[in-house]
Assembly symmetry: C2
Homo-oligomer: 157 residues x 2
């Protein structure tokens, strides 16, 4: 294939195909960037960043989750989680508590304000995804999520 | 659903399902993070970061590409591209030239060293992807890339 020719032929198309477009990793990156930008628009009013959102959601869904477990579920370092938890606590969205029966283990619970914020934010994000991914049929979305779950099963703890 | 119970029941499994796991954007993010980490391992020896790799690949594939066009294809700001192009030029992998017939327009071409580096790096990345994504069948990979292309078609220039 004459690749110069490929570019010349597609002067009206900003996206001539390159080797990059066949790489799964690169396609994941670009699709993620689109989703990320849309996500930020969805939650602009709430000033809840992607990491805050994910952390709050898990704490709200799994009361008394430990910070170690939360970090593991988020796939981030525990040290990186501390700032997120501090910020959410300062905003009154969650509080540090202790695991029932073992006061040495610190755990996290969402406050009522945090629960409300979580439900609202999740609704906004779902609405945005519904619009953004309307290029895919319901079945295609299910397929995509299922394939991505297979990749995520490669995550190492 | 009693979500505390969900967590308790899955004590041996670090990945109980949460609302996050149903969000396409979040799944894209996590799958991308896995691919990104693997990519960095693939190219460790070459010290070619993901952005350098993508830029070099496109310059090698599309000789005399302009910086504006390259930035557009990479989905990044032109200002962000300058540092990448400078670094690649300093390493002797590409050079700035002029579009034939219009000396006012600056364009980029890969040097022979850059062509060699691109072919080698692409081979390493493909080998890594082959191993990493062996959890998916060939057909599943094709499906995944095709679905991601549909999402990428949402990109705005």
């Amino acid at each position: 294939m004459n690749e110069s020719a490929t570019l010349a032929q597609s002067d009206d198309d900003q996206r001539p195909l390159s080797d990059l477009d066949s790489l799964i990793g690169y396609n994941l990156k670009r699709a993620y960037m689109i989703a990320q930008a849309d996500f930020r628009k969805a939650l602009d009013e709430d000033q809840l960043g992607p990491r805050d959102f994910s952390a709050l959601l898990l704490v709200a869904q799994f009361p008394e989750i430990t910070q170690s477990r939360l970090a593991r579920m988020l796939g981030i370092e525990r040290s990186g989680l501390v700032a997120i938890v501090d910020a959410l606590e300062n905003r009154g969205l969650l509080k540090r508590t202790h695991v029932e029966g073992d006061r040495r283990v610190q755990a996290l619970v969402a406050t009522p304000k945090g629960q409300t914020a979580y439900v609202k934010a999740l609704g906004l994000v779902r609405d945005h995804e519904e619009k953004l991914f309307s290029v895919l049929t319901d079945q295609e979305r299910d397929t995509l999520v299922s394939l991505l779950h297979k990749i995520r099963a490669l995550e190492t703890d």
